[in-house]
Every structure is written in structure tokens, then in C-alpha cells.
Amino acid sequence: MTDNLLEVRDLRLDIVSGKVSHNVVDNVSFSIGRGEAYGLVGESGCGKSITALSIIGLLRKPLAVTGGALNFNGRDLRGLSKRELRRLRGEKIAMIFQEPMTALNPLSPVGRQIAEMFVLHKGATWKEAEKLAIEALGNVQVPAPEERVKAYPHQMSGGMRQRVMIAIALACNPDLLIADEPTTALDVTVQAEILKLVKELCAARGTSVLMISHDLGVIANMCNRVGIMYAGRLVEERPVADLFLHPAHPYTDGLLKSLPHLGSRRLEGRKRLQEIEGTVPSIASFPPGCRFQPRCHRATSVCSAEIPPPSALNHDGFVKCFNHEQ
């Protein structure tokens, strides 16, 4: 267990405002090994992004960590001071976001924003840092990096801006890169390029990746292990191939069947897509027992009475369902 880079154990996050408190993430546990790419999949509001934010200590009120442990490299992240966390962020754990335009400073040339990393974390002078920034920009395959360091974010395309974000994130060779929907705002061909870049750079440096996405294709392309989140709980976690080819949880199964797959219409003709009935429950009114139970076609009486415990699956991984496959 000690060789894991990141261990999240029984994480619980709540929205606390005054006397009212709503649970948003419940009992989430997973770990990421060194050099491993872990995918967290779920729909909007399932708690995947705030789980990531809690790891780097960026949760804002009214959200708060109310239980569980976060261990990074043997250190307890919950016990760190603000100052220690600030040192850790950027140097050991870096994050890239969905929309690079809002994450970059619009008033500062991109080269300076990259150079800042070397000055703040590595104690470089601005002059040295500027050279390093050009090199970093070249590493993310931005053409003519000596010229582009002077550009402002608005002068770059979405794909180029995302490359700048990656350059900033990987500047200090972090141990863990958290990527929150890094390609959702991009065109498909650009998405393919960016994912390839992240994959290659992280593999070359041995960086672990926590990839957050609602896009199953992106996760299948990038990750070794996948956790499926639904309404604040991790419902299934397995190696990527097992999960997508033999989904065990009815929600995972439903998700995969509800999407049109490329080529299937040619093979089997157009079939009506299988729908998952109903909608995602709101945070204020999670159903009792299994939170997927009201939408589940396999639900039995036990599902609404008890929270399903994790059951181990034959190879590796677990599923939280009383009536799962296998």
C-alpha cells in the first residue's frame, strides 16, 4: 500500500451553510500508483471535480472536507497548513482545467506565466526562468516558442492555450497531474493532439495522472484504472478494459449502452438507444440506500434500505451494488 502516490480514504465532503448541511461526496476511496493514470468518470454534479479540488486544498466555502484521509507521498494533506499546501501545489501536484482562457491571466504574456513557476518553486532568476519557459513551451509542441512566449492568452487558439496550461502544470515536474475535463472545450482533432501530448509527457516523466471527465472515450484512451462516480459515491472501480468491456454496475452498463457507438449502425442497423430512466437526483434529495436505485432496472427492496458495500470483482477492483453482474 505504501507505494501508492496518492491515497484517498473514506473521503466525505459536505456543503455546510448555517445549520443546513448536504452531503455531496460520500465515502470515496481510491489510490493512484506512481506513473499510473486514474480516471474519474461521472456526470455533472456527481462530485468528481470537488473530489479533485479537495486533494489540492482548493475547496471553497460552503464546501468542506468533513471526513476521511488524503495521503500524498506518505504525507497527510489534511494536516498541512495553507503555506505548505501552496508550496505543494504547482511543485508536486499540478492541475489543468477545462477552459484555459479563464485559468490563464489575460494581462500577462504566457511566457511570464510559465516562468513564474520556476521563480516561485525552483528559485530561478527571471532571466533563467525565461529561457526555461521557452524550453517548456517547446516541449508542449508550440511552434516558434521564442516568439510565442511574448504572446498574450487571447492571441492564441484554444488548443495552443491548453498547451500553455500543460507547460505551466508540468514546469516543475510534478508527481501528480490532475486534469479536469482538459479537452471538453476543444475540437475533436485538437482534443486528440492534446491527449496524445499529455500521455507522452507524463509517460516520459513518470507523472501520475488523475483524469476527470464525463467522456468515456477520453478515459478509455488515457487511463489504466477507472472509477465511476454517481451522486457523490464511487460505485465501481476497475482496470479500464474490464470496466468498459464487462461493466458490473447497472449505471456503468447503462451509460455504455445509452451512447451510440461508432460503427454499430452499420453492423446492426439503427437500434433505439437504451435510456437510463429519470434524472440525476439533486444534492438536497438523495434517495436512501443506493443512490442509483430509483433509476435502476435491477433494483430490489434491499437497495432502498441499505447502502451497498463494495464487493470485490474477480480480477481487480470493486463494485457497490447488490445485484451486479458476475
Binding site: 484554444g158 475533436v188 486528440a192 461508432l262 460503427g263 437510463i276
Partner: protein, 323 residues
């Protein structure tokens, strides 16, 4: 699919150019060519998908078809009648011909109006003044899109994303248009909700004999829903044809790149890509695919003469003469 010869919508060498001002006080002027000499047809009962990346002009094309963007040159015919130029029908008339379903249903509904008010407004504008008739049409429309009629009293924020998109569809259909333009109809929705909306759209198309023009970059959805596909690249169609021709045997390098970029979980893991295993097809002798090089396009200059050439029935690709 069409019984008579005239298609439902015919776009005839449509160009839309925008003047762009540059420099201090906008003194130098340039022309951005969003759509260049584009022609296409939509037959009755068909779903035509327009695929392309951001900035390729697909939304400008859609706005022109809806009559919301005046073309620089070229014409658009609706059942043989021109809807552009001097003799074009009024805004009100055009609204009855084609309607649009937007990507983000929340942004496209008035947050201060109940669903009933939002649905009643177009009916009133189009001369339906009888309250009973309005109420009855709204009730049946709500049922048609899978909502309860009494939910019409609510406001947009009281609905979930999927329900809001159903309302967006109801709003588009309330005037019984013949053509519905779907602009990324499911990309803003949660993954588990998408199937519901895709199924609903396909059902409504059959039941109401609708014709769709769908704008999308999600090629898995395009393959599932379309009858015909047009691939757009910087204001021009580079490949078009029936869905199975375009998806099973894409010819143009850009189409192949788009299809190759789709990340499907099953294909990713089994490695059985339906397209990329085959070698790049050679263009006909004496021609190159147009554009020759991807990614090097200047939207401000006049593109060289190229032609959409039919390779076989219902499958064309854009070529340029080799010099």
C-alpha cells in the same frame, strides 16, 4: 425519399462574408469568408448532418437557412421559393418554415416566463388568438415531447437539463415547421440523458414527418441519427453523401481525420477502428483533394477554384485540378 424533384431546402452557391475592421479606429478593412459558394439540398423527411470544427461556418450556414443571416451572394430556396433577396417572405412567414433547437436549452429560454408563456407567444404572433386553442395546442405539444401538461406552469429553472431540452424542442415545434435546425442538440446534456433526447428526436421525425438539419461535432451521434452527412471545412463542403458511404468509406483526408479522432471506449480498448485500418484512397487522376494541406487556411483570401465531384451515387468529394 422525396417524391417530387424539388427538394425541401436548396442552398445554391451561398456565400456569407463579414467585414472585419482592424487597426487603429478600424481603418483597415478585411473580409472574413465564413461561407464560400456552398450548395446543398435537404430532402423531405431527411436528417442532414453538417459536421465540422469550430469556425468552419456551420452555424453561419444554419442562421442563413433560418433567414437570420443575410447572405452576401447566392440563394436559398424553400420548397422552390426563394427566401433570400428582394422577394423574400417576411420574418413571420419564415418562422413558420424553419425553427431551431439550441445547444443550451437554459440559455435559450426566458427565465422569467413560464413555459406556457414561452410556448404561447409564437402562437399568438402567428394569429392564434383563441385561448382554448392555445391551451390545447400547448397541452398536446407538452405530451408529445414527454412532459406533463401541468408542468407548463413552471419556470425554466425548475426543470432538469434533459427536461429543458424537451421544452426547447416543444418551442421549436409549436408552429409546425417543416424544417428543424438542431444545433448540437445533446452536447450540453448529461451523458445519461442524451439517449432520451436522441430517441425523442428520431421518434418525432417519424411521427411529424419532420426534416432535420443537424449541426454537430459528435460523429457517433451523427452516424446514429443522419441520413446524409456534409463535412464542412472553412466555409465549403469537402465531402458529402449518405451516412453509410461517408462513414464506411470516407475519401477526404479531413473526413478521415475527423472520424479517426473520435474516441469511442470500445474501439479504444479493442483496437478495432472501423476506418483507419484502410489505406488512404488515391484521388482521381489529375486531381488532388481540396484543400491540399489541412490547417493552413486563410479565411480572408479567396479560395482557389475547386469542385465537389461525385465519385458515385450520393457521395461527392471536393477536388482541385493538379497543375
Amino acid at each position: 425519399m422525396s417524391n417530387n424533384n424539388e427538394p425541401l431546402v436548396r442552398v445554391d452557391s451561398l456565400s456569407v462574408h463579414f467585414p472585419v475592421r482592424n487597426g487603429l479606429f478600424g481603418r483597415s478593412k478585411r473580409t472574413l469568408r465564413a461561407v464560400n459558394e456552398l450548395s446543398l439540398t435537404l430532402n423531405k423527411g431527411e436528417c442532414l448532418s453538417i459536421v465540422g470544427e469550430s469556425g468552419c461556418g456551420k452555424s453561419t450556414l444554419a442562421l442563413s437557412i433560418l433567414g437570420l443571416q443575410e447572405p452576401t451572394s447566392g440563394e436559398i430556396f424553400f420548397e422552390g421559393r426563394s427566401i433570400t433577396g428582394k422577394t423574400r417572405p417576411s420574418r413571420l412567414e419564415r418562422a413558420g418554415m424553419a425553427q431551431m433547437v439550441f445547444q443550451d436549452p437554459y440559455a435559450s429560454l426566458n427565465p422569467r416566463q413560464t413555459i406556457y408563456t414561452s410556448l404561447a407567444a409564437p402562437l399568438r404572433l402567428h394569429g392564434v388568438s383563441d385561448r382554448k386553442e392555445i391551451a390545447q395546442r400547448i397541452e398536446s405539444m407538452m405530451q408529445l415531447v414527454g412532459l406533463k401538461p401541468e408542468q407548463a406552469k413552471r419556470f425554466p429553472h425548475e426543470f432538469s437539463g434533459g427536461q429543458r431540452q424537451r421544452i426547447g424542442i416543444a418551442r421549436a415545434l409549436i408552429l409546425n415547421p417543416k424544417v428543424v435546425v438542431l444545433d448540437e442538440p445533446v452536447s450540453a446534456l448529461d451523458v445519461s440523458i442524451r439517449a432520451q433526447i436522441i430517441n425523442l428526436l428520431l421518434e418525432l421525425k417519424e411521427r411529424l414527418d419532420l426534416s432535420y438539419i443537424m449541426i454537430s461535432h459528435d460523429l457517433s451521434v451523427v452516424e446514429h441519427m443522419s441520413d446524409r452527412v456534409a463535412v464542412m471545412y472553412f466555409g465549403q463542403i469537402v465531402e458529402t453523401g449518405s451516412w453509410d458511404r461517408v462513414f464506411s468509406d470516407p475519401q477526404h483526408p479531413y473526413t478521415r481525420r475527423l472520424i479517426g479522432a473520435i474516441l469511442d471506449p470500445v474501439t479504444e480498448l479493442t483496437g478495432q477502428s472501423p476506418v483507419n485500418t484502410r489505406a488512404m484512397p488515391e484521388p482521381p487522376a489529375g486531381y488532388d483533394y481540396y484543400p491540399r494541406e489541412l490547417g493552413k487556411h486563410d479565411v480572408y483570401s479567396l479560395p482557389p477554384a475547386s469542385h465537389l465531384v461525385a465519385l458515385r451515387e450520393d457521395h461527392s468529394v471536393r477536388l482541385i485540378a493538379r497543375n
